[in-house]
């Protein structure tokens, strides 16, 4: 019998988690680890490994083929370019404390697409192979140039078989034209609610008038569009987080049950200062508090909550093909199926790459709308786009579920070839998958109820999390 290599990691409660390259996993103990690593498996070990898809007899037999199929399904296949993030203006009518690098003053000049840029954007979209497009408008505040948004949308509706639009807006000043734009059924709104009213005011709107304007526009948007077409996320200040309960209450009040918790993404010097304050550990503690509270609330019945990214990680453990989130997939080739196009016509592989270029940390632009993509730069980055051969990931039981974020590595570590295990990306995802597996192996009925809700099944059988004694 041949056993596929098993990666392992001690768990919080003294057991050991094992996983193979295709994402099959189980828990056992140190005695099994010793037997496995030293080549002294017992009959019952072999029986267990065989029954759970971790072994095969001969190459090409059913077990081998099944494993190969599962392994292949774990690899993200980058399709045609079908998702573009467009930044038609950098100007914004708010000045949020942590957003100085990605905005310009509302009255500033030279921060919008020119007519020439718009025409080039439309020609670029026209040249795409895909028949189905998703366009996300970001800024600045994109609705300040609703005229440009209208022209792009009108073109896409004609050109593609299916087209979906997302406007990332602060919902601040909405006139008839802006409302008409977001009212369309193919258009979705993504906004920010920074926890509760007080935090939102402190971090974003500053004055009572602007705070009132935002929350009344949010009410109106929910009434006109329905909660299914509005998503919101809170940006949490790790040094002054709002109470978890008040954030859940605020989101519940607006009928938003899926919350994507994110810490403030500091740039430049602010990032260095915060890195010294051990933000990661503090963030993980805050995050955990939110998840625990969601589990408590979900156990009470009624409407339920989920943390978007935790559920995404959970689904990546339980199923293959969960590659829709561009920050977590493997391989994660840049500049293939999605691109960011800035206000000056420059392409970026991700929004983070755009920020880093703006603050002068490194130029990660990959060409422009007039002369095309800089494929040599993309190729240089993409040489590291997989975790398959990384010397840390190769030993990590989370490899099949985890991914690669090259831009994040450059932003935080200044390089993409350092030890993965010391990167922010790795530390964050080690925490996330530790949490997922802790929950999966929990016997607490409250946890199991939440897991079933998040996995989208009526009941989660214990067999989903195998154990080998």
């Amino acid at each position: 019998m041949n056993v596929w290599p098993l990666k392992f990691r001690p768990t919080h409660d003294g057991a050991i988690l094992f996983a193979d390259d295709a994402g099959g996993f189980f828990r056992s103990d140190g005695a099994f680890l010793d037997r496995y690593a030293l080549g002294a498996l017992t009959g019952s070990d072999r029986e267990f490994l065989s029954a759970n898809g971790h072994a095969f007899e001969t190459e090409g037999d059913l077990d081998h083929t099944g494993f190969a199929y599962r392994w292949a399904s774990r690899q993200a296949a980058a399709g045609d370019l079908a998702y573009v993030i467009l930044v038609p203006t950098l100007r914004c009518n708010l000045a949020c404390s942590y957003c100085q690098v990605s905005r310009a003053d509302e009255r500033a000049r030279g921060h919008d697409w020119t007519e020439e840029t718009l025409k080039a954007v439309i020609a670029f979209l026209d040249g795409l192979k895909t028949e189905s497009i998703k366009v996300e408008f970001q800024g600045g505040e994109p609705l300040l140039r609703v005229d440009l948004l209208e022209r792009v949308r009108a073109f896409c509706r004609r050109r593609f078989k299916s087209a979906e639009f997302v406007v990332c807006t602060n919902l601040q000043r909405l006139g008839a034209a802006e409302w008409a734009f977001i009212d369309a059924p193919d258009t979705f709104v993504s906004t920010s609610i920074d926890g509760n009213v007080a935090t939102h005011r402190a971090q974003r709107t500053i004055t009572d008038d602007k705070t009132e304007e935002f929350f009344s526009n949010l009410d109106l948007a929910l009434e006109r569009l329905g909660p299914g077409r509005i998503s919101a996320l809170p940006t949490i200040d790790v040094e002054a987080p709002p109470p978890a309960a008040s954030v859940l209450d605020t989101y519940a009040r607006y009928g938003i049950r899926s919350i994507y918790l994110r810490p403030i993404n500091y740039q430049g010097f602010a990032r260095k200062r915060h890195a010294a304050l051990n933000v990661m550990d503090r963030w993980n503690a805050i995050y955990r508090e939110f998840v625990d509270l969601m589990i408590e609330r979900n156990a009470e019945g009624g409407e339920t909550f989920e943390e978007y990214y935790l559920v995404h990680c959970l689904r990546r453990v339980l199923r293959t093909g969960q590659d829709g989130h561009v920050d977590l997939r493997n391989p994660n080739f840049l500049g293939r199926d999605y691109l960011v196009l800035d206000h000056d016509g420059r392409f970026y592989p991700t929004d983070e790459a755009r920020m880093m270029t703006r603050i002068g940390q490194i130029d990660l632009s990959v060409g422009d709308i007039f002369s095309g993509l800089d494929t040599s730069k993309l190729d240089a980055l993409n040489a590291h786009a997989t975790n398959l051969f990384d010397p840390d990931c190769l030993h990590c039981p989370y490899q099949a579920f985890c991914g690669v974020d090259l831009v994040d590595d450059i932003a935080r570590e200044g390089r993409i070839d350092g030890p993965k295990i010391h990167t922010d990306f790795c530390r964050r995802h080690t925490f996330m998958f530790d949490l997922v597996f802790e929950l999966l192996y929990s016997r607490d009925p409250k946890v199991r109820r939440s897991l079933a809700i998040w996995a989208g099944v009526p009941d989660l059988p214990y067999s989903i999390a195998p154990e080998h004694a």
Partner: protein
């Protein structure tokens, strides 16, 4: 500052030895290379049939476990390399 230096000296004076099972001896070199960057404030050297750890050892049982696990991991990935290579080559040639 003086206290900090004293702390480091105290850490640096610590040393321990972890025995290498014969089945793992071929993997000691690779294991100490990896341990060196996992624990940058400690040093790891292979001597006869032991790995000698010096410097910031921290919790001794945890360090002992980490050394053993590093040896295990190198052996597992070495033993699995052929299976992995053939799997990937097989899939890519289809």
């Amino acid at each position: 500052m003086a206290d900090r230096k004293a702390d480091l000296d105290a850490e640096n004076s610590a040393a321990m030895e972890v025995e290498i099972e014969p089945a793992l001896s071929d993997f000691a070199g690779a294991a100490v290379t990896r341990l060196g960057y996992l624990h940058p404030r400690a040093t790891f050297n292979v001597r006869d049939h032991v790995i000698v750890v010096e410097g910031a050892i921290g919790d001794a049982p945890t360090m002992r476990r980490d050394v053993l696990h590093a040896l295990y991991r190198e052996r597992i990935s070495d033993r699995g390399e052929d299976l992995r290579t053939r799997l990937i080559e097989g899939l890519l040639s289809r």
